[in-house]
Symmetry: C2
DNA sequence: TTCCATAGTTAGACTAAGTCTAAGTTATGG
DNA sequence: CCATAACTTAGACTTAGTCTAACTATGGAA
């Protein structure tokens, strides 16, 4: 199990205490937290207060460095995903909860994408209700 | 070609002048406008000013009635799609523009979804650059 | 050590998307 | 006509997220 400090170093992100706490929080949950969830979740983890700006800056830095991912499934909030490997998402339309779905049956790219577009990646979002 | 009034009536939405203008605007573009785009776009279309609240209310009403769809691909803005038939989306990561991609090669549902989830629908978003 | 430069963090002001409210307007049925 | 319900309005409000200017660590170079 690699330490969070090492993980950040490996991605070229200087592991400050604030960044380690924030990364730890996102990496240790499957709840796909919003930035505000992270802000609440890391409160009290350090002797100093972690400011709102630092939370947002750090989340953006971690996304840019490929440590975590953004997920957009609903208006008004961006969620963060500790799972950066290829996978789909399932959104519970009642609760807004997001579940990771393994990447085991990959679709073909539609014919219409050939030529017109350069595809960097794609993502499938399923909507429904968890039982 | 069915009139917008009829279309709204068919979906159980009373076709007020404001609603017709707003629906016309969204239905006549492929640009996937945001609510603010709609607000700007319908300005001056009626003798009276269409208020922000009416634009947001009407867009939500049209989505609930199945006349148009919401698309979430970026933080900070919800976009509206006149195409309610099954299709994928391609997001230009430079410009944010969204293109509709035909539903011609449907993937299999992952095995892991069987049983655990009731799937109402799903959507594939491709990210990349239009050429 | 001390000095400096750079990167990071902070509180709080600010912006922008979207909702809410209370009052006014329009349509409809009796 | 009138009463009621549905709709629209301007503007206040809420909330996610960014920006700013001051402060704090860190890491050389002398």
């Amino acid at each position: 199990m690699i330490s969070t400090e090492e993980l950040l170093n490996n991605h070229g992100v200087k592991p400050t205490p604030q960044r380690v706490v924030i990364a730890d929080f996102v990496l240790s949950t499957h709840e796909h937290p919003t930035a505000e969830d992270v802000l609440k979740g890391v409160a009290g983890q350090l002797p100093v207060t972690i400011s709102r700006a630092t939370v947002y800056n750090t989340l953006n830095t971690l996304v840019a460095a490929g440590v975590i991912r953004e997920v957009f499934t609903e208006p008004g909030a961006c969620r963060y995903d500790a799972n950066v490997s290829k996978h789909h998402h399932f959104v519970d339309t009642r609760t807004g909860r997001i579940f990771d779905i393994p990447w085991d049956e990959v679709p073909q790219l539609p014919r219409s994408l050939k030529g017109r577009f350069k595809v960097h990646g794609y993502e499938i979002t399923f909507f429904g209700e968890a039982t």
